[in-house]
Symmetry: C2
Subunit: 203 residues, 2 copies
DNA sequence: TGTACATCAGTGAACGCGCGTTCACTGATGTAC
DNA sequence: TGTACATCAGTGAACGCGCGTTCACTGATGTAC
């Protein structure tokens, strides 16, 4: 065991991400991260100013994971000869991926939204996926695409992100933390379908 | 100062509600509640089994406050000779009241959703307003109304609560805790309009 | 090639926080006879 | 009308928790000469 760890910052970050995955933002505990890194607890202060600095870094990675899943699910949408239909399907896939992430990576989802940050942060974070876009940027891309194809009237475009984002984010919250947490699988599927189609019909 | 307080349970509840109003669920601290009630800290255990029991009671009241605001805003919608138009306006008022509550009574809003409870709880809680319905019950009432009037096709009815509720809940979350917290007043108004009209168009 | 020294990255002990909760207790109240 | 006693509602001291953070420190590394 060498005295100098060498990759301690990365190790602490990974530990923090693992903690967040299981227990959400509150589980990102400085001392726990140093424990799993096999290092004394205040060695962390060489690499992060604060516990909150560690949490912020973890939060960024959680947001990146969300963006990655969205990208992957959009890529899975098969390309047909109808560009318009494809664009709608990609929008739908974006929303479904968002909800899927909340349901399957609940800890990460909660952590991603635990840190006070403005909108610019969600629009893009460098190095995420191929596009370098965050979840918000990916959604905007989908909507722009629809406008470009003439599928979405441009007077409908302003604020369209708000409507789409609110719907999937709200459903996610209600399903994981809120009053809808006890829904059966079937009921949950109905709810998801209803919300996603509601978004599309609302545009 | 009498030895027996007499109304201690009510006093602790009121104190808890005041704490929640300012600081959300985490601010509902047993010792703080007893302090403002002017009583030793463990006197609370005569009236609540736990801190969580107190929090649960506070949560119920927060939910009632939300229901009350919704009812009030619906009552404010003027009655015209078009029953259908009125019903749509009441639905819209319901959604706007929900968001208004989140923005103006943020602490209460957060507290209302802080305690794990199932759906049945939101549907009705006895003694709230005239109708005795919770927020979810009020929303259902509005949607049933539209179906009865023939304004909403009954095949659209199942799961319609999910779509409407998710949208306003999601926007509320994003505005108070999330990435939309820094929106200007004008942008916020646009977002609210867009979400509310999106819900209506989606039905 | 050596040596002196600044610098960086880790260690270990300690503090304070504020709370929730428990224990053994005392003061007030109501009721049976 | 008094008295004995159960019961209820409060008190006060104490514990443990686990953490974030700070302090003074030591071991390793790199660089100037």
């Amino acid at each position: 065991v060498p005295y100098h760890h060498g990759e301690l910052r990365a190790a602490l970050l990974d530990a923090g991400i693992a903690l967040a995955r299981t227990g959400g933002p509150n589980a990102v505990v400085l001392r726990a991260a140093t424990r799993t890194a096999g290092v004394s607890h205040n060695a962390a202060y060489r690499h992060f100013e604060d516990r909150s600095a560690l949490l912020r870094a973890v939060c960024e990675r959680c947001m990146s994971e969300l963006a990655l899943l969205i990208e992957r699910r959009c890529d899975d949408v098969p390309v047909t000869d109808s560009q318009v239909a494809d664009a709608w399907l990609r929008l739908e896939a974006t929303g479904r991926a968002y909800i899927e992430f909340a349901l399957t990576e609940t800890g990460w989802f909660r952590t991603a939204f635990a840190v006070p940050t403005g909108l610019e942060y969600f629009a893009s974070d460098e190095g995420v996926g191929r596009s370098g876009l965050g979840p918000y940027g990916l959604l905007s891309t989908r909507l722009d695409e629809l406008v470009t194809l003439g599928a979405l009237p441009s007077e409908q475009r302003p604020g369209a992100e708000y409507a789409a984002w609110s719907a999937v984010h709200g459903l996610s919250s209600l399903l994981i933390d809120g009053p809808l947490r006890d829904l059966s699988d079937a009921e949950r599927a109905v709810a998801i379908d209803r919300v996603v189609t509601g978004v599309v019909d609302g545009l």
